[in-house]
């Protein structure tokens, strides 16, 4: 870290984020709060299992094309010869189609399932990243600068938090589609990609406010602490005080909030797709498959159960992992 004033930076440089006494590097260091939390997490069996499940789904999403190729099928090919005249698949599963085919179209279930993991994870991770970034910056600004900046940001936070988020998410779809020329004029690909970005936008738009409020509160108390006063006194620019002095102290709330919002976003993405306002064809998505599969659930249970199990396992693992992360970073929540 260089802050421009070489003489006065010695102490600050060694300990950018804490007011702990200076230690020699030869003496064993105390663990940082993040290290302690990670150690706790590693000992938590539930957390390890859940992390493995999440990793499993991430790998599936990354290697989706490879897995589909391994099976010898793809997501788009119609197989009308594999469904009877009423649209029911003629078989349950075979060597070419491990989990059978879709009713009516005869597309391969397994390929669509592995590809379906992609949008869920991408939407959730991107929305979390954007929401966290905006939330942290807004919270830092509101808490540190104070005055009218704080009042404006706090008001916006209250405003966003008091909106009915599900209804707004639903309302955004027709608005954005008609901005782009109405659903009649969009090709299915254009419409699908529009929906994809609308989803990410809506989720991050409603996701940042909660975190911003938490960060603001933390910053309000941190900014009165000695190390911040010291940094200000020696003339460290505001930007560096914010990001190099304050931010490292906010790791715990940020990590907790991000890990709790991931399962919420996976749930929201699939839920909106289930309602028909999220992802649409040709992007394969679990939520949308569930909506279609409910019409066939007696004749073709695998078609329904594949995405249901996918979402349930992924969300459950992410949620329990998020809970474990919170317990690890904030031992007070353990009772």
């Amino acid at each position: 870290m260089s802050i421009g004033l070489p003489d006065s930076t010695v102490g600050v440089e060694d300990h950018p984020a804490s007011a702990e006494p200076v230690r020699d590097s030869a003496v064993p260091h105390g663990k940082s709060p993040t290290r302690i939390a990670m150690d706790r997490l590693r000992k938590d069996k539930v957390a390890v299992v859940c992390a493995a499940v999440v990793l499993f789904f991430i790998l599936i999403a990354i290697f989706a094309p490879l897995l589909a190729k391994l099976e010898g099928a793809d997501i788009g090919t119609f197989h009308p010869e594999l469904v009877d005249e009423y649209g029911f698949p003629t078989f349950v599963a075979n060597a070419e189609h491990w989990f059978g085919v879709e009713p009516k179209t005869g597309r391969d279930n397994f390929a669509r399932w592995v590809y379906g993991a992609r949008p869920s994870l991408i939407v959730a991770f991107v929305a979390t990243a954007v929401g966290t970034l905006v939330g942290v910056v807004m919270g830092l600004l509101a808490g540190f600068i104070g005055g009218w900046v704080d009042r404006v940001i706090s008001w916006v936070v209250d405003f966003v938090l008091s909106l009915p988020y599900l209804l707004f998410a639903i309302a955004m779809v027709p608005i954005v589609e008609s901005v782009r020329g109405g659903s009649f004029n969009l090709s299915p690909d254009e419409q699908a990609s529009t929906r994809f970005f609308v989803l990410i936008f809506v989720l991050s738009f409603f996701g940042w406010a909660g975190l911003a409020r938490i960060i603001r509160g933390e910053v309000l108390s941190l900014r009165e602490r000695e190390f911040v006063l010291a940094a200000k006194a020696i003339g460290v620019p505001t930007r560096q005080v914010l990001f190099k002095e304050l931010l490292p102290n906010l790791v715990a709330p940020i990590v907790i909030s991000a890990s709790l919002s991931l399962p919420a976003y996976v749930t929201a993405e699939a839920g909106l797709s289930f309602l028909g306002v999220g992802l649409i064809e040709p992007i394969p998505s679990w939520g949308q498959t569930i909506a279609t599969a409910t019409n066939w659930f007696k004749a073709d249970p695998i078609y329904l159960w594949l995405p249901v199990l996918g979402i349930t396992a992924l969300v459950l693992a992410l949620a329990l992992l998020g809970d474990a992360v919170r317990d690890a970073f904030d031992p007070k929540t353990r009772r």
């Binding site: 008091s162 009915p164 209804l167 639903i170 027709p174 008609s178 309602l275 306002v277 249901v308 349930t312």
Partner: protein
């Protein structure tokens, strides 16, 4: 106290006002063309297009449209569709593009469904949720408590719509153990009304009971360790009186706060339940309107839901400041 209420009221009103402006801007000022989407693309003649524009007053300046809309909410307005005048009474939220009916009337038709759903839900979470939570708090640390708490954690981590959908498909359709969801007005046939809503209530209630059980447990654990509880026990009061008369009363304050906001949120968020159990409530109205690009209906619903949420927020804040004077200072 008066100052606090006034300040909160101003901020609540400002949120409502901005919501009104933002929704209006989103739906009518953004480069959207409602007339084109109503008219459809294939067989839309210019005449028909212009007629729609004129009827909906879309040809007027945006600011004037907004003023008319806002005035309509308080004073009502009149629309003229090809020579026929239609009255839209006081809380007028515009006319539906598709049904040629005032949005307010459509919302009024659907509101009883959603209200019935939420009312039954409220009864369930407040009785079962709170009861389970306080039982767990009393037996804190025992095997039963831990089993209960981890099972609620797992159940509440599964997405709600998955639970609801699976129960609807397997327990009401394939193996009809529970009555199928549906709506009959209470005044028509109370029995059918109850039967149709029973499964949605159970699903919505039991799923959300898990959260209420956790809140109430946390709050009760705290309350049960207070000094006055020990005093009550020392006086020789029975365990039941101590738990349910002394502790439960103050232990429920935070739970009631969450309850207030949750009920307002459920009115807006019952979409999944309504869709899965086929209940013609507000949420289903929005989904139907979405397929028709019926923007005034969606906008009206969003607006009404926002107002309900803000109003509940305000009431909870005021009620809380009555109970706990410290809130007023912050």
């Amino acid at each position: 106290m008066l100052y606090f209420v006034a300040r909160r009221l101003v901020s609540a009103l400002s949120v409502v006002l901005v919501t009104l402006i933002v929704t209006f801007a989103l739906f009518f000022v953004a480069p959207t063309d409602p007339a084109a989407s109503i008219c459809g693309d294939r067989n839309c003649t210019t005449e028909r297009y212009n007629e729609i524009k004129e009827n909906l007053h879309l040809d007027r300046p945006k600011v004037q449209q907004f003023a008319e809309y806002t005035v309509g909410i308080f004073a009502g307005r009149t629309f003229e569709t090809s020579g026929v005048k239609q009255e839209c009474n006081a809380p007028c939220l515009g006319f539906s593009f598709k049904n040629d009916r005032p949005v307010t009337d459509m919302l009024k038709d659907r509101l009883p469904v959603t209200v019935s759903l939420v009312a039954g839900y409220a009864v369930m979470v407040l009785t079962i949720g709170v009861f389970v939570g306080s039982m767990a708090a009393k037996r804190r640390g025992t095997l039963g408590d831990r089993a209960l708490m981890s099972s609620t954690l797992i159940l509440s981590s599964v997405p709600y719509y998955i639970v609801a959908l699976m129960i609807s498909l397997y327990l009401t359709i394939l193996y009809p153990i529970l009555p199928r969801g549906g709506y009959t007005p209470l005044t028509d046939n109370p029995g059918a009304w109850f039967a149709g809503l029973l499964t949605p209530w159970l699903v919505l209630g039991i799923y959300n009971c898990t959260q209420y059980a956790r809140y109430s447990r946390g709050s009760m654990v705290e309350t049960l360790s207070e000094d006055y509880i020990r005093t009550a026990r020392a006086k020789g009061l029975s365990d039941r009186v101590v738990t349910y008369k002394h502790a439960l009363r103050s232990g429920m304050i935070p739970v009631i706060t969450i309850f207030g906001l949750d009920i307002a949120g459920s009115l807006a968020g019952a979409i999944f339940t309504e869709r899965i159990f086929d209940l013609p409530g507000l949420g289903n109205l929005v989904l139907e309107s979405l397929n028709n690009y019926d923007l005034p209906v969606i906008m009206g619903t969003v607006l009404v839901a926002s107002i309900i949420l803000v109003a509940m927020n305000f009431l909870v804040d005021v009620a809380y400041s009555l109970i706990d004077p410290r809130v007023r200072l912050s």
